[in-house]
Symmetry: D2
Subunit: 371 residues, 4 copies
């Protein structure tokens, strides 16, 4: 094997910032030169800045050649271990479109709600309608469940995905659901609007790579004891495979006090926002693990600047097949929405609402019996 050409610390990305008066021809020329040098170019035409990313730097990029090109204002080596997710790489906030007309990362705070797991047709259609009517615009629900014990309910699988798709049709809600293995990404992407990578899989790199190539937004949950740097490096796997539509999620980290399931690390929200352009949502259900603490912590997450909330709501929590203790009753979700709206407005935002007409008849679903 040849000399060591890989290194964790080495600057592996370079950013060419163009003069704001740079012509399309000048931009194209930079892209061409990068290609000639043997690297990949990523033009980024932002509102405030036109830049071209150079990916695949092996440490031998001759920046002088790039600096000499016309229209080039600056050549920056990205200093963080993560590159394309960094604020250095992209200054503006990224806004992720969900396909149903909803976006995450804009002014609106998006509410994602639903059961831990899809348990059956009636359950998911019922709760979908309820959370939609109460203000949610995304439906969560697991079809493939990674469970600590092999003897716990593992989800309905593809049948669960089909039920989620049916719920979308009837309610207009976008669907977020988890993929748990590389081979399963395609079928999840076929039915869902957002592919969730769960906390246990945050460093499942084959899964991340596959999700990075599937062409649908990804909700990436922070690992049980992942640092923010590790979270951002996991996101970098997705972006480096070509997927820019990544939503991060704080869901609590492991700590020493058994009174709560996790420590809900809300400081991660402003921290992430300063380090990356990607949006971040918060999961107060896993973050606390205790039903009665979900609403106050949802308020806190919005106040801290979260771009959305993902909340477990079940029509009948005590009979939930998983996570019953942290699932809200629908009426508690109504209260959560009522609390979070004023908080969002207090910081100059608002709760995102499903656009009228986004899905024909979405607001008036046929009664279940007739389905």
């Amino acid at each position: 094997m040849g000399p060591n050409t890989f290194s964790e610390g080495k600057a592996l990305a370079v950013l060419i910032v163009m003069d704001h008066r740079a012509t399309p021809a000048q931009i194209e020329r930079v892209v061409d030169v990068i290609g000639e040098m043997g690297y990949r170019a990523k033009p980024m035409l932002g509102r405030q800045r036109i830049a071209i990313g150079l990916v695949g730097n092996d440490g031998r990029v001759q920046s002088a050649r790039l600096e000499g090109l016309e229209g080039v204002r600056d050549v920056i080596k990205v200093s963080k271990p993560y590159k394309q997710v960094s604020r250095e790489w992209r200054e503006e906030d990224s806004v992720v479109e969900l396909g149903t007309g909803m976006v995450i990362g804009g002014e609106g705070v998006v509410l994602m709600a639903g059961p831990c797991a899809v348990e059956g047709r009636e359950q998911i259609l019922d709760i979908a309608t309820q959370v939609r009517d109460l203000g949610a615009s995304v439906l969560r629900g697991g079809a493939f469940k990674p469970r600590t014990s092999p003897y716990s309910f593992q989800g309905l699988g593809v049948r669960g995905l089909e039920l989620l798709a049916e719920a979308r049709e009837r309610t207009g809600l976008a669907i977020v659901t988890e993929a748990v293995e590389p081979e399963g990404v395609a079928v999840v992407a076929e039915h869902a609007d957002v592919i969730q990578i769960g906390a246990r899989n945050m460093q499942n790199y084959p899964l991340l790579k596959r999700a990075g190539r599937i062409g649908k937004p990804v909700l990436l949950k922070r690992g049980m004891s992942a640092t923010i740097t590790e979270l951002l490096l996991a996101a970098e796997y997705l972006l480096s495979e070509g997927n820019p539509d990544v939503i991060l999620c704080e869901r609590g980290v492991r700590s020493f006090d058994p009174q709560t399931r996790n420590v809900f690390d809300l400081t991660a929200i402003p921290l992430v926002k300063s380090l990356t352009h990607l949006p971040i949502v918060a999961d107060p259900s896993h973050g606390t693990g205790v039903r009665s603490k979900v609403t106050p912590m949802a308020r806190a997450a919005v106040a801290a600047g979260a771009d959305g909330l993902i909340v477990e709501v079940h029509p009948n929590p005590p009979e939930a097949l998983s996570d019953g203790a942290q699932s809200l009753y629908p009426e508690q979700f109504a209260e959560l929405v009522a609390h979070c709206g004023p908080i969002a407005r207090a910081i100059g935002r608002s709760l995102a609402t499903l656009q009228e007409g986004a899905v024909a008849g979405a607001r008036k679903p046929a009664p279940l019996a007739s389905a």
Copy 2:
């Protein structure tokens, strides 16, 4: 030594709840009987409930004798390891009066602000006036500083206390400052309105016992890796010595990610409020350790239900003798106040403000030069 009559797990408190029509004579009779049985009685005449606590239960209390007394509705064994701090013991929120007319634990969210340490006369009078004018009603500032290194600045000692007292006279702000050893409690109590027990001393029991007998409110900070149960047991030391005026403080706990100084555990706020009647404030300065994260996390703390904030503000943070990296510039504190007001209102509260006239001339201090 005789048989084991101590035990961590044993119910060591009993609560006698009176019928709401109980007569004073009936209440007195219960108190007398408790005395005859060899225990201490603590009558608690709340708005919603008249109860009498029995302290010193050695596990042999004959509750039948108490249940048989006239006017007694119920005899409850307090099930938690902490007794007098528990919600079982006292249902209503405790409200702590600071002596300057301010209270903590009521509807108003109290802002405590000031430097990590008192560094000199000009510094403390200057910042006191600034934070008062920006909305604070309590001045924080350390005169005795527990420092990790023996070679770090250890505070101005008694001279610092005198300067704090002078700042109170000029501004009307209540003073909170730390006592670091039992022998030092009296002198701190002489100058301050609230005695702070710092995180490192949360389990310094001789210090807690002394502070429990000094007759001034105590601000008890959560230890670096204290569970909520341990925090409440530390508070129990104060109450069991006779001091009901205890304010708890969440200030972050130790965790694994070096990106922030601590993990700011805001779930502690609703959790504490469900377990105890004592008020709780939050310290986003130590909770995050990073200046730019203080304001978003102050907002989050208010949204989570904190009864107050304690924030480090310094006239010139880069030259602070301690904690400069997490101290706000005065203009950043102004921004924090502007952010937190709407959040407080969004949850039906407001920022507490210094009552006009509480201290004559407080709003118009003499210019420093003339002092």
Copy 3:
């Protein structure tokens, strides 16, 4: 969906312990009855106890019917969330055979050594020979590397596996190497003697399930912040798929002190041994992350009762493509072996040695140049 027939807490395994004089026919009859009841039977013919496990208990097993059968001494509901890995299920230590004649879990303490990653033919053959000559009996080395950054060296893949297989042929060492995705398990099993599941994948259930069906021993590393219960439940995935040959591995857990990469939790060793019959080895390289601490902690792990050590050794650590800072120089590994031998003997064990003749010519490999 019908009533909830799954539950995390419910006893999902039952053990039928036979009288020690039970006849084969009586045992067979119990197996048959279990089948008739609709469950799976797992006979376990130990030296000290003959027992039959009943798997798939849905909470409605009528134990009376089993208790009434001839030769049955006891019917035990396994109380732990993990079943087949528990000591209740199997009292005797499990001994895992590696295929090369080596076993893990017996009297001998097995040394596994080698580089973090296979970097090339010369590197792996060189170090394999060296560690073999110094006392190792298993060669470690990653062909597929899960890396925190997408820009770090990701391993040589199948080519790495081939080189490991070549190293086995030349040295007689058994090979342990990591599989990182379900699809990759088969090819790893084809070349390796033991399939490693890394810390990041401890809760990668699709991977565990595949490894549970592949018919080769599995080395399961404890997750970064996994509790012992979670580790044992992850192992249960392997056993419940039919693979009894599981070796656990303590490799340090995440904590708050940046002085070491992890906290090496050696108490896990006696704890695991009291809860499960599976063997456990220790990884002082990841456990400490610091080369100079590997040997003292290897000694401590042996003293605590580890059944083996897995240690990173590189011919030239400063040039290693990964984990250089924690890799030993070969001469340091020699010292580790010299230290650990007496420790093993002090507790009545010994270091396992490669059986002479297990692989023809293994002790005298052809010089590299001629290969």
Copy 4:
């Protein structure tokens, strides 16, 4: 207040290393010059190196003046935040003499054993004799107990100290017991040979300062979530007050798995030994919190290089007033000693034994009845 002359990061100690042929007059001259410069000098006449420490460096020390003096070989700025405890300051291991002829930090591994708390005369004299006869040379036992709950047994106080002193007279064991407040240091020092500073008080600086001036060895336990740097800075408080006789103690740190009371961080042992010249002992009782794990972890601690063990042993653990679950039965302590001896010998050390005749008649105490 003047300009900032304190700073955590600044080099606050300087070491003047003398030529090994330096004359006493030359050494004296260096001491004098340091005094003339306004600093304190600390001559250290080691076997391998003669050096003079300069304490109180305010960052303006002119090292050129010192370098120019005759006999001076080198002038070193100590780079660590801790100074006098660092290996840079003193290369040789420190050996602490306990006053009974025992030393800690030498070749012998010292066994300290006894109950969590002194509960009465019979209990302490009984267990003292037993642990002495089994191989201990130091008796542990709390007279002042810091307890999480105010309702738990708080120790016998001064009466407990007197009983410990009586136990020393009868057995020849040195006594280690805890001081919990500055005012209590003197009375503990009067009766004990070693003053323990407990984990909760590791950063109780007034207590450390008092213990630093009392003239007796101090056993400093690592705080519940203290980093190694913080432990060494706490020790620096003791040394900077003039007490060189400090013994560090690893006793487990707080972590996330409720299966054990703490994570016993044995890597701290080799780590501490590389950073400081002070001895370190290990406490497997608090380190694990579970009786059955104490002996394996005691073995591991000795294998990792601990200079001693401090172990809870009680004549009747189930009736202990505190820490019963982690206290050994005397016969288990006998087993621990039997296990640890061979481990100590395996690494070229031995278990320290009470010197015959160190205390007249110590080996043959009068029967209890006659006392």
